[in-house]
Amino acid sequence: MTTPITPVSATAGSLVVEAERGQGDHIVGAHTRSGKPKVDPVYYLFLLPTLILFTLFITLPALLGIFYSFTNFIGFGDWQLVGLTNYIAVFSDPAILSSYGFTFGFALVTVILVNVIAFLLAVALTSRIRLKAPLRAIFVIPMVISGIVIAFVFKYLFSNSLPALGSATGIGWLQESILANENLAWLAIVIVSAWQSIPGALLIYIAGLLSIPGEVYEAADIDGASAWVRLRSVTLPLVAGYVVINVILGFKNYLNVYDIIVGLTDGGPGTATRSIAMTIFTGFTGGDYAYQMANATLFFIIAVLISILQLRLTRGKAALS
């Protein structure tokens, strides 16, 4: 668990500086005489319960899991250290490799779809329209609905209503449920995931668009910029930081995709839509505990790398503004 801490402290340097600056201001007013005022013991009481619980429920399991990834533990009974055997096996396991392929492909398509739609909706919702508040309220609803529940609703639509529509209109490919089609089932998962996560991205884009000062648009108007030029050359560059936030936060979330898949396809047909999270969880029922922990550890390293990328990019954005 030293791995996650290093990137945070390294990249959160700006936070430290900011906080120390804030603290410095106060010192002038209060504790000028002594360098470090003594800590009121009550503060330990405030902090320790959180620290202890966090260590027991997050750090300890994480360390234990990483340790087991170097053993042949099957979830119970005896075990032996086996070095990197699990890791080597993971890299040549077609089931795991295909789950990575599916999950990353799914995350990539979803992140693009969500951001394009959310951005356009945000532009529309901040333009000169009426009923702004109710419209915005409607578009945010999907965010508050449980993923698996809405997945079940969509499952009905995909496997009953769309085929019925296909038969009625004579459109051949619609007549069969796309959930039963190995090559199309992922599309259903993308649609439901996008449906659910567009609101979050939308709200962030709306905040971004509202932060653009009106003068910028006046200047563009004076220069005779068309609506398209204004969108591409004025709006988009000014919300670039928000795009970065949305893309990376979204991508990280989509890599954990689970609930919606369970509701729609349960990984099927076959193993066509099995995500990384689903393969990891098979370690509990399938006696592959140590092996799947190696998989989980690799997944964790990827998540950390993406987070570092996020901090790098968003810090750049903070420097801009």
């Binding site: 007013g29 405030f46 901040t126 000169r128 508050v144 509202l210 000062p213 936030i245 964790f300 998540a303």
Partner: protein
């Protein structure tokens, strides 16, 4: 509502927008007359159907008779309206039990997250110059980098060992996974509270304990609302964690119950949709009453996080 949101001094939801000068308003100010962009409005109405249709289907299906529900026509209105799906779903899924467990887990998560995160954040911010507190901050933040699937297996194993393979264990884990983000929000907010305010309380003889509860915690209220909403949504809607941690299926939360009874609903679609509707409704109702905080919360969360 319509005119309100376009008027400069509109309250509530539109308020945040009006304090910052929206580009449209500036240009309008020049012209003095505002025009509504009707093509955009029509497109937005059509897009909103993608949100409303699944909800409409859920509601209408839940009120159909079993016979009408199997005809495959999802868009038809229920005729006759029949509420027996609800009573069947209520009995079949043992809804009162699942609902109570979900409510308790969610309340526990919300209260636990707000209290632990607020207390820890206050201690961290006020003792920043001490290493223990400063390092604790980064330590607690590290969980933001840790997806649940990574630690799921050892957590299942350990909660099982210590007798927490139940809703209590899920509540604790929900709190743990909300901590990082909540502490980030609280510390950012606490740093913006002037220390002078606190000092005057201290001069009057208030202890740290009293200062926190009587002065700081009330001041944190807006951020607590944001933290609470995130905790509520994450906990109420979660399927992954309870499905893996809670060993006894009769103690499962509402989202997991939908999965457990999926096969028993079979083709009684009115029953299954009534059950889905009962699962969704509480979060939607809470959202309708807290819209403004939800929207502001997400925005704040993104900017601070």
């Amino acid at each position: 509502m319509t005119q309100e949101s376009t008027r400069p001094l509109a309250p509530a939801v539109a308020a945040s927008e009006d304090t910052r000068t929206s580009p449209a308003r500036r240009r309008r100010g020049k012209v003095g007359q505002e025009t509504t962009n009707w093509p955009v409005m029509i497109i937005l109405f059509l897009c909103s159907l993608t949100v409303l249709l699944p909800l409409y289907v859920t509601i209408s299906m839940s009120m159909k008779t079993s016979a009408q529900a199997v005809d495959g026509n999802a868009l038809s209105l229920p005729a006759p309206i029949d509420f027996s799906g609800f009573s069947q779903a209520w009995d079949l899924t043992n809804f009162p039990v699942a609902f109570t467990i979900s409510v308790l887990v969610t309340i526990g998560t919300v209260v636990g997250t707000v209290l632990l995160a607020a207390l820890a954040s206050y201690a961290i911010v006020r003792n920043w110059e001490h290493r223990l507190f400063r390092y604790s901050f980064f330590y607690l933040l590290a969980a933001m980098f840790l997806p649940f699937p990574v630690v799921a297996l050892p957590q299942i194993q350990l909660t099982g060992l210590v007798g927490l393979a139940n809703p209590v264990g899920v509540t604790i884990l929900h709190i743990m996974f909300q901590l990082s983000f909540s502490i980030l929000l609280f510390t950012a907010f606490l740093r913006s509270i002037p220390l002078e305010l606190e000092e005057s309380a201290r001069i009057d003889g208030a202890t740290t304990w009293q200062t926190f509860w009587q002065l700081i915690f009330p001041l944190l209220a807006p951020m607590s609302a944001t933290v609470a909403i995130f905790a509520f949504l994450a906990s109420w809607n979660d399927f992954m964690m309870p499905s893996l941690i809670i060993a006894d299926s009769s103690q499962q939360t509402i989202p997991v119950v939908q999965k457990i009874f999926q096969t028993q609903f079979s083709s009684n679609y009115n029953v299954s949709f009534a059950s889905y509707l009962m699962a969704m409704a509480p979060a939607i109702i809470v959202y309708l009453f807290t819209q403004r905080w939800v929207m502001e919360g997400v925005t704040q969360g993104a900017v601070k996080g």
